[in-house]
């Protein structure tokens, strides 16, 4: 059975199961238990909020057929999503974030938003890290999730901290930024620990919410450290660029430069 045949077969099986479920015959107890997708069953990019998505999805499998990486599949009986609906499990095959997002325009019902074109705007899920197991958090030079992240330095950034344990190295700690994480799951797929230390879950299983009565006064603490913090490198690199208060001041200032970089001086 070729890959395409196999996919067709799986789609058909799922559709049949879906049809049976709709008919409400035999399957009803199962359907009730299956009415919600589990935390790690992710929807295709551009999917509407789950309730709307469920209302519109025709379980036709068009998006599954369009996916070039066989990421998407239609849920069958024992799967983690309601029968017949498209989903993917990141640890198995993540979303490769195709630039042209082929799965979305083929959706006949609008369960996948037709207006959706920019894959970096996808919010399929949100990555979350187990900080006790994550190798990078423990000071090892791993950072695989960060290096492979398609929106590296936005969705996953590195917080670089001194490693008190060795007192000689740093820890390159990966940090997830919900503002940019698309939930593609490439990180989860690649994580080298036996059970992935980074997982992509549907947002409601990850995100907390402040009480509405409270308005934070500052989010300064969330700003990440930069290794170079506290230095104005542009100024330091190009001392001549400084606005000169008076003729000659630049010259004198250069001699006393903070780094002791004294162009033109004798040693």
């Amino acid at each position: 059975m070729s890959a395409t045949d196999r996919r067709q077969f799986l789609i058909r099986t799922a559709q049949m199961a879906g049809a049976a479920a709709c008919a409400g015959v035999l399957w009803s107890p199962l359907v009730r238990s299956q009415a919600k997708a589990s935390a790690h069953a992710l929807r295709p990019p551009g999917a509407l909020p789950e309730e709307d998505f469920m209302a519109l999805c025709l379980k036709c499998g068009q998006c599954v057929k369009a996916c070039p990486f066989e990421t998407l599949k239609l849920a069958t009986v024992a799967d983690d999503a309601p029968i017949g609906t498209p989903y993917f499990i990141a640890r198995e095959i993540p979303c490769e974030m195709c630039v042209d997002v082929p799965c979305v325009p083929v959706c006949p019902s609008g369960a996948l938003d037709r207006e959706f074109t920019d894959i970096t705007k996808a919010r399929m899920g949100l990555a979350v890290i187990d900080p006790e197991i994550c190798l990078s958090m423990r000071g090892l030079r791993c950072e695989v999730c960060w290096r492979l992240c398609p929106v590296r330095d936005k969705a996953i950034t590195l917080n670089i901290v001194h490693n008190e344990g060795t007192n000689r190295h740093v820890r390159f700690e990966p940090v997830i930024n919900s503002e940019h994480c698309t939930g593609c799951g490439i990180c989860e797929k690649a994580c080298p620990t036996e059970e992935s230390s980074i997982r992509v879950l549907r947002h409601k299983f990850v995100q907390g919410r402040l009480g509405e009565h409270y308005s934070p006064s500052s989010d300064g603490d969330f700003k990440l450290q930069d290794v170079r913090r506290g230095t104005d490198i542009a100024k330091e690199l190009n001392p001549g660029d400084k606005k000169q208060a008076a003729p000659g001041a630049g010259y004198f200032n250069r001699r006393g430069g903070r780094d002791g970089i004294i162009p033109g001086s004798t040693p």
Partner: protein, 916 residues
């Protein structure tokens, strides 16, 4: 999991972890059981199998298997940490397709070059190899056989193979893959300092004010060292990191200053900095006058390619022609003080004497760097088209500022393959040393030019043991009669046993398979048919009927596919071993487990092979066409059998008895208390009761006395020792060399003494050539070289319009033969993708994840385009890693090399990319 903290829980054994995975809570009883299980584990020190950093590890074994590893908290290099490759050290032994039986191509029950691989016994394999070796050796002499080894070979393996081929077979055709890696660094060390060794050490990372990376992607290639450099940047607010690179790599994330330059123009940038030092009176004249001289060499030295296109593919011929005549552009003409030659063809007349060099005056040096003004260099070197010339100029000035900063500021320059794998790699290494010598900032704490090493024992084995075609142990040279004499004495060989002619460098040996000058090749710990450039040639050459290729490896590789015999090799902890890392640190481990099936250590293979040769077969008169060396007959090596008899040997003794199982060596008995009851497969298999590794190390040690002094074998195995940096004098290791108070070989009052002994008497002249041929001795001095900017053979044109650079990524080691066997590592980077600038991709109708053809004059392969990759390449350039056997990027690379080091340039091949 109530009473037990999760962290404690993690530490417990396999049983407990299994329970956790299954979702059980762990009772105290189960935990006790788990602890009891771990109590049976035996922990011992070891060293990471992978890169040149040399991280220490602790390895646990239980019931004959490695069950766990951890970074060694007492190892000074890594203090308990690992990178992601190191984390899987214990797993690389257990890939599903480990080779466990010798395999030979057979038909009708006997060897046949056209047959399929069939399992055979070790005796059958070694007998056939010996027969083939003898056939070729008898007909063509010692120049037609070659051993190709590795910077990952153990110290003992390197020593055995080296001694067998040089002393036994009287051939210098042994060369390691370090030729592809560190050879340019070696030649620069020889030429500048007369000794091949880094003067600095890792301690400098914490001591330097400024760290400059020259074409060095340390973040991926030296992961744990990068963690140290970054920590220093983080904790010392006044320290700075500068990344001078041809593409935006992960180091740029941390660097304070990133300078993107065009390939090869670092040669011009270095000369600009030197010129600035002179212009700004920043040269430390006192240091320079006392401890240095100036030198230069010929310019038109070719590109290390064959001088003939007889064996070239048709498309390659135009590139190859540049070995003889090369058209220099406007910039090269100005940089080489011959502006009238711009656009003209220049005969590469000095290709045969690329390593010649002579003394010049400081004024001549000044004249040399004079053309390298800021304007000239900026225009030439600016790499990013989007950057303004002014902005780039400011960066160059700032780079010069950091070097010229006042005396109290300490600066370290770091480099590795970006500088070494370069058609002018030796020159560029020398230029970096020049910058530091001009300032007198070399070989002292926090000040130095530090050549990082790619492989775990490139220093300890390839360089120190001298498994190169031109070297003898401890920095001695084949071509030097006094060095041969000393070696013959230590090895108890008759005079003139050693072949005086330098052997074939690695690429020359592979070319030899193609042109018929070499017919026998045996490779160890190396996958050359994937890792050498321009592999399409060597893949075909290996299969020529007259050639015989032996590949010893632990896993099936592409090299094995084109071999005639594949020998299953034992891996790291399956044998006693010692590695020497980049900072002169020799570290060791014991054999912890047995190799699977019939896999056996390379040392045993060599020793067993040596039993198949008697003295009369190898120490009689041997043909050596073209030999013309004083004291030797023409075109042959003399018989030394008579002399051998006088020394008490007889002609029917085997090389095993004469070279290895000597009466002196047999005094080192096995078992030895240092083994703590652990196994030794080499000793067990030989069955004659001598401790091979210890005996041969103690035989080797006297070579090192007087400069590279190694400690006694047992000292390295002391439980408290985590490697020692040579020279070790009075039990003390040495961190910095050549400076008073740091190097035990520098006397009080000298300040500095560059006491290396090689190439220390040279003629004098000016920039244009030698004027006085009398060799002028320069004891204790270092050489500051003037080297001009020069181009490279395969520039871009309208057809091949993208420059291909290759390299490594953090997740995989070299050709992936080990790391791709670990499913978790494989998953992190299953295939080598083609890093491409998004604009270049778009121009070719390509988008991220598209499959494209990548084609050069030497071949074409399919790759998946990656515009989101970790390396942000500049327009006009593409980048690919070489780990992927499924991609084989080295079918595309060019085998042009530095003519001094014969190290290939993997960084500059002209390619085209189009949709597949």
């Amino acid at each position: 999991m109530t009473s037990l903290s999760r962290r404690e829980f993690i530490k417990t054994s396999i049983a407990a972890t299994t329970a956790a995975t299954a979702g059980f809570t762990v009772s105290q009883a189960a935990l006790a059981q788990a602890n009891a299980a771990e109590a049976g584990w035996k922990w011992d020190k070891s060293v990471c199998r992978f890169c040149g950093v040399g991280c220490g590890e602790q390895v646990a074994t239980f019931q004959g298997k490695i069950v766990a590893i951890k970074g060694d908290p007492d190892a000074p290099v890594n203090r308990g940490l690992n990178c992601i490759k190191g984390y899987f050290n214990g797993r690389i032994l257990y890939g599903e397709d480990r080779l466990t039986q010798p395999l030979m191509r057979m038909k009708g029950g006997k060897f046949d070059k056209t047959g399929d691989f069939v399992p055979v016994s070790w005796d059958q394999a070694l007998d056939e190899i010996a027969a083939q070796f003898k056939r070729i050796y008898k007909a063509k002499g010692p120049s037609a056989v070659a051993m190709l080894t590795s910077g990952q070979s153990l110290v003992s393996e390197g020593y055995i193979t080296n001694k067998l081929i040089k002393a036994g077979f009287r051939s210098n055709n042994i060369d390691p893959n370090a030729r592809l890696c560190m050879a340019s660094a070696v030649v620069a060390f020889y030429q500048c300092f007369g000794v091949d060794e880094p003067a600095n050490c890792y301690d400098d990372f914490e001591l330097a004010d400024t760290t400059v990376l020259w074409s060095n992607n340390m973040a991926e290639a030296h992961p744990i060292l990068w963690s140290r450099v970054t920590d220093h940047r983080l904790t010392d607010k006044n320290s700075r990191i500068i990344n001078v690179t041809t593409y935006r790599n992960l180091c740029s994330d941390i660097a304070d200053l990133e300078i993107l330059y065009k390939p090869n123009t670092e040669l011009a940038i270095a000369n600009y900095i030197a010129r600035e030092m002179i212009e700004r009176n920043a040269v430390n004249m006192d240091f320079v006058n006392k401890h240095c001289i100036f030198a230069t060499g010929p310019v038109d030295i070719g590109f290390g390619m064959r001088p003939t296109d007889k064996f070239a593919f048709p498309a390659e011929k135009d590139t190859l022609a540049k070995q003889l005549n090369y058209t220099i552009d406007k910039y090269e003409a100005i940089a080489q003080r011959r502006p009238e030659m711009a656009g003209k063809s220049v005969e590469q007349k000095d290709a045969g004497r690329a390593d010649a060099h002579w003394h010049i005056t400081f004024d001549e040096y000044k004249r040399g760097v004079a053309p390298y003004t800021l304007d000239f260099v900026a225009e030439l070197a600016k790499g990013d088209p989007a950057e303004s010339l002014d902005a780039f100029k400011k960066k160059l000035q700032q780079l010069a500022n950091y070097y010229i900063a006042d005396k109290s500021k300490k600066i370290v320059s770091l480099w590795c393959m970006g500088a070494n794998q370069h058609v002018r790699g030796v020159w560029f290494n020398e230029q970096i040393y020049a910058l530091h010598l001009l300032l007198g900032k070399y070989g002292t704490p926090g000040n130095g030019a530090f050549s990082l090493t790619g492989q775990p024992s490139a220093c300890g084995t390839a360089r120190e043991i001298g498994t190169f075609s031109h070297r003898l142990p401890s920095d001695m040279l084949v071509a030097n009669p006094a060095h041969r004499e000393k070696t013959e004495k230590i090895w108890k060989l008759p005079a003139k046993t050693l072949n005086p002619r330098v052997g074939t460098a690695l690429m020359i040996a592979l070319r030899g398979l193609e042109d018929g000058s070499v017919n026998f090749v045996w490779t160890q710990t190396v996958n050359l048919w994937q890792s050498t450039p321009n592999t399409n040639h060597w893949l075909k050459a290996a299969r020529k009927p007259e050639n015989f290729v032996v590949v010893a490896d632990s896993y099936p590789t592409l090299s094995g596919k084109v071999a005639d015999v594949v020998l299953p090799a034992a891996m790291i902890n399956e044998k006693w071993g010692m590695f020497g890392n980049a900072e002169r640190r020799m570290q060791c481990w014991r054999q912890m487990v047995n190799a699977p099936g019939q896999a056996r250590p390379d040392a045993w293979m060599m020793l067993e092979f040596s039993k198949r040769f008697t003295l009369k077969e190898v120490w009689g008169e041997l043909p050596l066409p073209g030999l013309k060396v004083e004291g030797f007959p023409e075109n042959k090596l003399p018989s030394v059998l008579e002399e051998a008899k006088k020394m008490g040997y007889n002609e029917n003794m085997t090389l095993y008895e004469v070279l290895f199982a000597t009466p002196d060596n047999k005094k080192f008995k096995w078992p030895d208390p240092i083994a703590k009851g652990m196994e030794n497969s080499v000793v067990n298999l030989l069955g004659d009761g001598w401790f091979v590794e210890k005996a041969l190390f103690e035989e080797y040690r006297p070579f090192t006395f007087g400069g590279h002094d190694l400690a006694p074998f047992d000292m390295y195995y002391d439980d408290k020792v985590r490697g020692l940096r040579w020279p070790i004098i009075d039990g003390k290791e040495t961190k910095w060399r050549f400076s008073e108070g740091n190097d035990p070989y520098v006397k009080p009052g000298e300040g500095f003494n560059f006491h290396g002994k090689l190439l220390k008497a040279i003629p004098s002249g000016d920039l244009d050539g030698v004027k006085d041929t009398t060799p002028k001795p320069l004891p204790g001095k270092a050489k500051i070289f003037f080297r001009p900017y020069a181009g490279y053979p395969e520039k871009l044109d309208s057809n091949y319009d993208l420059q291909l650079c290759t390299g490594r990524i953090l997740e995989h080691w070299h050709t992936g033969s080990m790391t791709r066997r670990v499913p978790e590592l494989h998953r992190t980077a299953p295939t080598a993708m083609l890093d491409m600038n998004p604009a270049d991709a778009e121009k070719r109708g390509l988008k991220h994840q598209d499959v494209a053809w990548v084609e050069t004059r030497r071949g074409k392969i399919k790759m998946v385009v990656n515009t989101r990759g970790r390396n942000k390449v500049l327009p006009g350039t593409i980048w690919a890693a070489f780990f992927d056997e499924g991609v084989q990027v080295n079918q595309l690379t060019l085998d042009a090399a530095d003519p001094l080091s014969l190290e290939p340039d993997y960084k500059k091949a002209a390619a085209k990319v189009y949709k597949a």
